[in-house]
């Protein structure tokens, strides 16, 4: 038993040293997981009754190390080479618009777009666009959506992780901030119903040839490419969840009046939130649209397509809002249109 423990410790230390030979980006991303997996395999080999298993295990580890390290460095060189060959950042045009709509007293939507002026920051972190749709009594919704967009911007540009992790981290921190405000509110006055607030959010980063998108709630994002509209955010409305779970067809959900305004995920309702994130390789000619449900429930995908392919971003964002109001304007509506050329 004592010998096994010593062998395990010794093996883990040696493997830790081997990990340093991998490219640093690979080690940072997978080193911890590899160590954990190595420990499990090592334990398995040590517990085996068959003689020579531990020796064979280490032979396999060295073979795997030599093979995988060659592959990783070859991939790294290939990447560096192709980056030099193809590096050509797109021109990005961003326009945004928001409106209170025809039925609401307050506009609780917030939006933000950032193209960093400083070239280092722009190259490192790219451009950021965010849309949030707040909810809560007495203007609390507007406070929540404001807190969300400002926190996401602040945290995203000050986090030293890869793009997707920085964005998800920023959204999670925004969630914590709003949740904490709600907690303080709850403790203040226990005699009346607590005034809680929450918000949806959809955020996208455009960097080099990639679009990194993350969302919580029913504010959505669409990518228009090759004459097709792709919804690239995950809709966290109650109805969309019924479709995903197979309890309703998309057609039934479209017609259903049940829980039409209900969402199953939002920022500020729980201490932690599950953030949907996705990455898309960009192509010249793509158009990205971020919008609140005030737009996408009133303007069909066909209408969105017709508007943004016909007009430049500034006009497109205005027409999307105008169309939402023409179709009833029951909610605040916000749209950001990003053209990639």
């Amino acid at each position: 038993m004592q010998t096994s423990l010593q062998l395990l410790n010794w093996s883990q230390k040696l493997y830790q040293l081997l990990l340093f030979a991998y490219p640093s980006s690979f080690r940072q991303e997978y080193g911890a997981e590899m160590q954990l997996t190595f420990r499990d395999c090592c334990l398995e080999a040590l517990q085996s009754d068959e003689s020579g298993t531990f020796f064979r295990f280490w032979c396999l580890v060295f073979y795997d190390f030599a093979k995988s390290i060659t592959v990783e460095y070859a991939q790294l060189l290939k990447q560096l080479w192709s980056k030099e060959q193809t590096y050509s950042p797109f021109q990005v045009q961003i326009a945004s618009n928001t409106d209170i709509g025809l039925k609401r007293q307050v506009n609780e939507d917030k939006m933000l777009s950032v193209i960093p002026e400083e070239s280092n920051l722009r190259e490192k972190k790219g451009s950021l666009v965010v849309v949030a749709d707040g909810m809560g009594d007495d203007n609390a919704g507007a406070r929540a959506s404001d807190l969300a967009v400002t926190t996401i911007k602040e945290v995203y540009y000050n986090t030293n992780q890869n793009i997707a992790d920085s964005l998800v981290h920023a959204i999670k921190l925004a969630n914590q901030k709003i949740f904490q405000v709600n907690e303080v509110e709850r403790q203040k006055d226990t005699r009346t119903l607590p005034k809680s607030m929450g918000t949806t959010c959809v955020a996208a980063v455009i960097k080099d040839n990639s679009l990194i998108l993350a969302n919580v709630g029913d504010s959505l994002a669409y990518l228009i490419r090759d004459q097709q509209v792709h919804q690239i955010a995950e809709d966290h409305s109650w109805l969309a969840e019924q479709v995903r779970q197979g309890r309703m067809t998309a057609e039934e959900a479209k017609k259903s009046t049940k829980n039409r305004n209900m969402i199953i995920r939002a920022l500020g309702t729980q201490a932690d939130v599950d953030v949907y994130a996705t990455t898309v390789d960009l192509q010249s000619g793509d158009t990205l649209i971020l919008c609140t449900d005030g737009v996408h429930t009133q303007v069909s995908e066909e209408e969105i397509y017709t508007i943004v392919t016909q007009y430049p971003p500034q006009e497109s964002s205005r027409y999307l809002i105008e169309r939402a109001n023409e179709n009833g304007g029951p909610d605040n509506s916000t749209a950001i249109v990003v053209r990639i050329d």
Binding site: T37, C41, M135, D165, H230, N261, I263, D281
Partner: protein
């Protein structure tokens, strides 16, 4: 005057990990990735019946091949990295596996594209096997 909520919230207790970091390669033809390397094919097969963490994938491969295929951590995570970036799999988040200590582990699952690629590769191999059968190679 009290304003009604724009949305009603359901605060559900949920341990689902929808929406990990996924990389979509839109409109990619599954055939364009064939033939797959043995490592990638084994990983896709291991994930075909549900999400698993790295060690879970290794165990599944060793078990299914009766110990004839052993994948080391370097090959496994290098393959996972490339499979993530080509949209074959997606990460579903971190959680602990009570059977293997309390550490949080990253879980992976197949994407729709990954399933199509796995199916296409299995069909390609099945065709090869049927040719071998026709030529009585398999006895």
């Amino acid at each position: 005057m009290q304003q009604t909520l724009a949305h009603t919230l359901i605060c559900e207790e949920s341990d689902t990990t929808k929406g990990g970091h996924t990389i979509h390669s839109r409109k990619k033809d599954p055939e364009s990735l064939l033939p797959l390397t043995p490592a990638v094919f084994h990983i896709l097969l291991a994930l075909s019946d549900g999400e698993r963490h790295g060690y879970g994938i290794m165990q599944e491969i060793a078990e299914r091949t009766k110990g004839t295929v052993h994948m080391g951590p370097g090959t496994l995570y290098g393959s996972l990295k490339r499979m993530l970036s080509s949209g074959l799999i997606e990460e579903t988040g971190e959680k602990a596996d009570p059977q293997h200590g309390n550490e949080r582990r990253r879980y992976y699952r197949l994407t729709g594209f990954g399933q199509r690629v796995l199916h296409a590769e299995a069909e390609r191999l099945a065709q090869l096997v049927s040719i071998a059968q026709l030529k009585h190679v398999l006895g």
